[in-house]
């Protein structure tokens, strides 16, 4: 009998681990759903760093649990519903592919607030947020044009959605502001995250004669290939300098923390409203990694462009800009409006690729 009591006591002690969750209930829960691994070195890692900033800033008022490697589709709906049921007050669903799952769960839980990254559907309790990545890509394009000897860059693209097409055009636009004849080759990897495919794409582009590489996919594989072949490259989503200390010129870092903190504060003081947010360099949601491996004059140019974009003096898509086939898109001095950018499905002049439609 005594033994049984001891065993029960030990069991209770072991079970203690999860009863502590109940005591912390006064803290609000701000939850995160990740599509990849939080150490992917790219997109999800950038989100995870943002989450950690949030915990640092507001950790005394909130908890911030997360789920990683959640596949898009029915699994995502279950994962998000589990979060809504487990007492999350605000849920960040950090991938475009979670859009419909987010909308379905949001309809079932009107009291829970949702923030969906890069989507186009919203509701009273679903806000969307995105970052003006193209501002960073414009700067990368300028650097590329200065650093490339051949005047051709390679672009490893994921999927032909407006977001990615916009990035390709912004890069080309930046490059052309330095070298009007700058050309770009594009390879569609059809993945966000696949080191093997991304490395193959990088090798194919280098074999076609590009001497600068940039990517809109999430792993450091292209950076490593560029390092092996001795050409320069740009990092994506996270600072990838560790993968190419002598290779990375700069990286477009997603610094979501600023946005996560802003929205969580709004949740805490009751001012949270559904919005469609599209912040850029000036808001701190996007940061350029240190400009490295380049001469001082190129660095100075990049810094000057960054300052001009932040101050609003420069909009990367300012006319005159022609479409790929030479027909005019923007007149001299005309700036692209956000609606056109968010639905962008055409290339501008100078991109050497046929857009998959």
């Amino acid at each position: 009998m005594k033994k049984l009591v001891i065993a029960l006591a030990a069991t209770a002690a072991l079970l203690g681990g999860f009863s502590s969750g109940a005591q912390a209930q006064e803290k609000k829960k701000v939850c995160f759903v990740y599509v990849g691994s939080r150490t992917d070195g790219g997109w999800t890692q950038a989100n995870e760093l943002g989450r950690q900033q949030l915990v640092k800033a507001l950790g005394d008022k909130i908890e911030a649990p997360f789920l990683e490697n959640v596949p898009e589709g029915p699994d995502a709906e279950r994962a998000i519903e589990r979060m809504a049921r487990s007492g999350c007050s605000l849920i960040f669903t950090t991938s475009f592919g979670f859009m419909d799952a987010t909308m379905k769960v949001a309809a079932k839980f009107p009291d829970v607030k949702f923030e969906h990254a890069t989507g186009f559907k919203s509701a009273a309790n679903v806000a969307t947020y995105n970052s003006r990545f193209y501002e960073g890509r414009y700067i990368s394009g300028q650097i590329a044009a200065k650093m490339s000897k051949k005047g051709v860059a390679g672009y490893i693209a994921s999927f032909p959605i407006p977001e990615v097409v916009m990035g390709i055009n912004a890069f080309e636009q930046g490059a052309k502001s330095v070298n009007p004849n700058f050309k770009m080759k594009v390879v569609w990897a059809n993945t966000w995250f696949d080191p093997g495919k991304e490395a193959d794409a990088a090798k194919a582009l280098i074999d076609q004669g590009v001497d600068i590489l940039t990517q809109h996919t999430d792993t450091t594989a292209p950076m490593q290939v560029a390092a092996e072949r001795g050409i320069f490259a740009f990092g994506q989503a996270s600072d990838m300098i560790a993968a190419g200390p002598k290779t990375q010129l700069t990286a477009i870092e997603d610094t979501w923390g600023a946005y996560f903190i802003k929205r969580t504060k709004a949740l805490l003081d009751g001012s949270w409203k559904s919005e469609q947010s599209w912040d850029g360099l000036k808001d701190g949601i996007l940061t350029m990694a240190p400009y490295t491996n380049m001469p001082d004059d190129v660095k100075a140019m990049a810094e000057a462009t960054e300052a001009k974009i932040k101050s609003g003096e420069l909009h990367p898509f300012t006319g005159p800009i022609n479409k790929q086939d030479g027909t005019p898109w923007l007149k001299a001095g005309e700036k692209a409006d956000d609606g056109t950018l968010l639905g962008m499905n055409f290339y501008i002049e100078g991109v050497d690729d046929k857009l998959p439609q």
């Binding site: 072991l14 681990g17 990683e68 596949p71 279950r78 419909d100 999927f159 407006p162 059809n190």
Partner: protein, 375 residues
């Protein structure tokens, strides 16, 4: 020196029954050890893995949603594997079934008729079966290796789906994002109950499992499957045709994978998109073997595997166990189940000395036999 697996003369009935339980106990012990080393309360972790997902009604629905396609695909595969036809391409048949099943709602979104759903299911079955018919034809006619052909057709199917949803079937109102329009309500597989998401796909899975179990147990066709799987020559003497069996097993498994595909798209997703499966067609291979290629065993193994997915999520959220740790735990379970099962049939023997043992020589001969198979 090397280690050999030697077939036991007699298989213990007692241990065939005890083995899954033994595997479970070993998993619990080693899992608890792992969680303890990670600094988590071991019992709390096991609780959120195996118990927490079963406490809520919605969560049990989710279990059925996750297990449904796994079971449906795996029972079809069990017929293939029992008959010595190695269909590795269920993922592709699943995808094609989803596509052919979606033809009606995508092309005729304004067709509101109750016949649309049954037609979709039939088209899904037909699509999956026809797609599995390609490796069947290649094997029956040209003696091609079906492992390679069925596997490679997976990528063809996935790229075809990718092309469709970015090209001709793209939702015109979808901001250029890659997905089709949402299916009309008549084209959505209804939920079983109002309390959650579980839909008729799970019922199809159970019906298929019971039907195939009945066939294997009580019908001549089932006997034919087993005999041809164990010895093609013996099957020939009995008048069975290995070539017809290639067709039968691949069409059945392809059709069921296709049904799983259209059920998943119609019941759980509601439209087509570039990725419709987190690898169900491949995971189902594990489920099939975990269920010892027995359709009823597969129901159990499908539910268990689905439970570990849900449990992994619950453990991530409630006690912060990482996704990697929960996958290791899943791996532990599979490892122990399969090794316990193996050790029922085989014993481990240490062989001292050179490799020129009679066992090594005799291992060469079966491949010579397969070469002389007539067509």
């Amino acid at each position: 020196m090397r280690i050999e697996l030697e077939k036991r003369g007699r298989v213990s009935t007692l241990f065939s029954i005890v083995s899954p339980l033994l595997a479970l106990v070993l998993t619990l012990v080693f899992g608890a050890l792992m969680f303890w080393m990670l600094g988590k309360a071991p019992l709390g972790a096991l609780y959120s893995f195996f118990v927490e997902p079963l406490l809520d009604v919605w969560s049990i629905h989710e279990l059925a949603v996750k297990a449904g396609p796994l079971i449906l695909i795996a029972v079809g595969l069990s017929i293939c594997y029992r008959s010595n036809n190695w269909n590795i391409g269920a993922e592709g048949q699943f995808t094609i079934g989803a596509i052919t099943g979606s033809i009606l709602p995508v092309l005729y979104p304004a067709w509101h008729s109750p016949v649309i759903l049954p037609l979709m299911l039939l088209l899904g079955i037909a699509g999956g079966a026809l797609y599995a018919g390609i490796p069947a034809l290649l094997k029956a006619r040209f003696n091609t290796n079906e492992i390679l052909t069925s596997l490679m057709l997976v990528y063809v199917a996935q790229l075809f789906l990718d092309w469709l949803v970015r090209g001709p079937w793209k939702d015109p109102q979808g901001h250029n994002f890659p997905q089709t329009t949402s299916f009309q309500p008549e084209a959505v597989l209804p939920p079983l109950l109002d309390s959650g998401r579980a839909h008729w796909g799970f019922v199809f899975a159970i019906i298929a499992a019971v039907a195939l179990w009945f066939m294997m147990r009580f019908m001549l066709k089932g006997f034919e499957v087993s005999v041809l799987g164990q010895s093609e020559r013996a099957g020939r003497f009995a008048g069975f045709s290995a070539r017809r069996m290639i067709w039968f097993s691949l069409l059945v498994s392809g059709g069921l994978a296709g049904l799983a595909g259209i059920s998943e798209v119609s019941g759980s997703i509601g439209h087509l998109q570039p990725s419709i499966s987190p690898g169900y067609g491949f995971t189902a291979i594990i489920v099939a073997f975990l269920g010892r290629l027995n359709p009823l065993g597969i129901i159990a193994s499908g539910l268990v595997l689905a439970l570990t997915y849900l449990g992994g999520e619950a453990a991530q959220l409630s006690i912060g166990i990482s996704d990697k740790a929960s996958r290791v735990f899943q791996g532990l379970l599979l490892f122990f189940v399969l090794s316990c099962d193996t050790l029922i049939h085989y014993r481990i023997r240490l062989v001292l000395g050179s490799a020129n043992s009679p066992a090594a020589k005799s291992a060469v001969s079966p491949s010579n036999q397969t070469a002389e198979v007539t067509r």
